[in-house]
Amino acid sequence: MKKIASFFKWIGKDLKDIGITFGDGDWKTRISYLIMGFGPLVRGYFARGIAFLALEVLYILYMVSFGADYLAKISSLGTVETHMDLTTFVTVYGDNSFLILLYGVLSIIITLAFILAWRMNLRENRNEELAARENRKVPTVKEDLHQLLDNKFHVTLLALPTLGIFTFMIVPIIFMVCVAFTNYDKQHQAPSNLFTWVGFENFKKLVSFGGSGFGSTFFSILGWTLVWAFFATFLNYFLGMAVAILINKKCVKFKKLWRTILVMTIAIPQFVSLLYVSKMFAPDGIINSKLLEWGWISQALPFWKDPMWARVTIIVINCWVGIPYLMLISTGILMNIPEDLYESARIDGANGWQMFRKITLPYMLFVTGPYLLTQFTGNLNNFNIIYLLSGGAPQSIDMTGSAGKTDLLVTWLYKMTLDDTNYCMAATIGIVVFLVTAGISLVVYGLLPSVKDEEGFQ
């Protein structure tokens, strides 16, 4: 709330500043409100003036030749459908909703950027005017450029990464968030069909039961996603810690060998190891055939056929994947626990378990709290394990959208995109995943001891 208030305050202040610049400014500055860079040009700062002027010209050219068309159609996402002209039998191409949405979003963003540039142009004018009045020198272009390698080095460094994040992260996310509010699905594929805005219809469909609603599937998958993330995080965490403690024991020899064996499994590409492991548990895989051969079972165990079996198998295999990482991390942290803590506990007559409960565990939880949180949210979105092991199988008739019993929200999203081409529902699920992740992160982060009390263990 406070943030929003301060944001509006800032906007108000900025508007006032724009007013002052106009009221107090001379004619050169005032003309710059319309023709960007006019002030600097007249005052003799050519490089800057030309840069601003060029920006304005480019913006106008872009809008006139390209942007304005799309911007005008964004409220309806197109009205002319692609159809066959009945008299000449020629296909008439209509509006492409996909392009309208994409370029519409792009045009809005470019316009915002242009407003920012316009504001910079005013600031430049104001600065030059004040400098002239106070007989100050305006820094030359050369000095400005030099600053880019010194005090403003961050601008140089961040320019490229920001541009990348902006084009390949922010624009697509804004676009997909918009798609969640349209009916862009199998029946409404651009360019042959139009799609349009439908408001919160997709969200309603996601949580409604019966009929065409996705409710029962959604809640079943959401439940399994949370259960999975819980087990995948904490089981790995404690088992990994246990292995680390085991290797750290004084009586254990060849410590380096054991660690190396486990670490080596991290290096091997997951798509090789997991695909192989998934085949190991297949009905005709090595595990089932060995068990059959030894006569321990009379028919193949349904590792990937039965929902419960599949879920447990996945969690167990995930331990196999995750324990080496956790072992590595715990080993490093365990070595940092002051030895005298244990020493004094031993004098007080504490046994191993008590020492673990009272010293090791609190210390570990304190130090790795934030890491556990990121692990948990990471596991909510752990695509690889599920996709490579079971692919979401077993499928079930009481699930819609080709979902299976071991699908997570993200793998369901992936299937929606690829198999069903139901983009609007996929986008809706994506937003739900974001909300779940953000919600959990916000709540848990505030509760973490290491955040509340940074000095706690020192």
């Binding site: 994409l102 994040i165 992260m169 009586c251 290096a267 890491y371 999203l413 974001f434």
Partner: protein
């Protein structure tokens, strides 16, 4: 007294035996799949079947599957090169991006710094596949799908990688600021400090970043298969192997899959084992600082 000491000693030995037994068991469980893959890759294709069988040790050892991978019938060499090129360029690009972002966020104080970090945090909470179709379309506009999938995948791998700055920034934060200040007093510009002071001090974190950046595209399946869809010249090894295992014909390709898996795993495993020290440092550092 002596008896108690003896009992204590016995207890010790028992403890040690059990610990070692558990560790040996763990090692077997962890290594078992890999041993299986290696053994199966040597199974003779001609005298036994190439599919899955109920035994682990092949009856006849041969290099049939490997020979097939390098024969004219398969494009394995091409896929391998694709994978290598993508991983190499992504590793270089991503390391540069991460270093640039980390240095600015760790060393400089400027307006919008926290905003920048907060936006990255929020963006990171969106699932990666959400934007898949939009990215695909963007790439397609520039002709970077199918035939152009390799530069396309490099672009996607590098473009937004600046967001993964956490571990590296944590490392930069531990380099004393007084070093920078001393250099500033001597008249060095920020850029000079970055190139001549910070970078040489950051060898461990540069290696860690490059290593993780190299391994991700080396193993990437999902986006690679989407971007290169239907154009087998642009596949990477992961896409090809996944198709071998998950087609109806996988019984014919199983030993070949194992052989391909061994070949793709060997370089990363060697690389990883050599640079293990840096990896452990990076992972532990990242976990502690959150």
């Amino acid at each position: 007294m002596a008896k108690e000491k003896k009992l204590h000693k016995q207890h010790r030995t028992l403890d040690s035996v059990i610990s070692h037994a558990v560790l040996i068991l763990i090692s077997i469980v962890w290594l078992f799949p890999f041993i299986c893959i290696v053994l199966q890759s040597f199974r003779s294709y001609d005298t036994e079947i190439g599919g899955m069988v109920g035994y682990i040790i092949p009856k006849h050892f041969s290099l049939d599957s490997y020979a097939w991978l390098f024969s004219k019938d398969s494009q394995f060499v091409r896929w391998y090169l694709n994978t290598f090129i993508i991983a190499l360029f992504v590793a270089i690009g991503q390391t540069c991006m991460v270093l640039m972002v980390s240095y600015s966020l760790s060393r400089m104080r400027f307006k919008g710094r926290t905003l920048w970090m907060r936006i990255c945090l929020i963006l990171g909470m969106f699932p990666g596949f959400l934007t898949m179709i939009c990215l695909y379309f963007l790439l397609k506009q520039f002709g970077l799908t199918q035939q152009g999938a390799i530069p396309g995948l490099i672009l996607i791998g590098v473009a937004s990688s600046g967001m993964g700055y956490y571990v590296c920034k944590g490392f930069f934060d531990t380099i004393p600021k007084s070093l920078d200040e001393a250099a500033r007093i001597d008249g060095a510009s920020r850029a000079r400090i970055f190139f001549t002071l910070t970078i040489p001090l950051s060898k461990p974190i540069i290696i860690y970043t490059a290593l993780t950046a190299f391994m991700a595209p080396w193993c990437d399946y999902i986006f690679a298969s989407y971007v290169a869809f239907g154009y087998s010249d642009s596949y990477n090894v992961a896409v090809a192997l996944y198709r071998w295992v998950n087609t109806n014909d996988y019984q014919g390709y199983f030993t070949r899959f194992c052989a391909g898996g061994v070949l793709i795993a060997i370089p990363v495993t060697i690389l990883f084992m050599c640079l293990q020290k840096y990896y452990v440092e990076g992972v532990t550092g990242g976990a502690v600082k959150g």
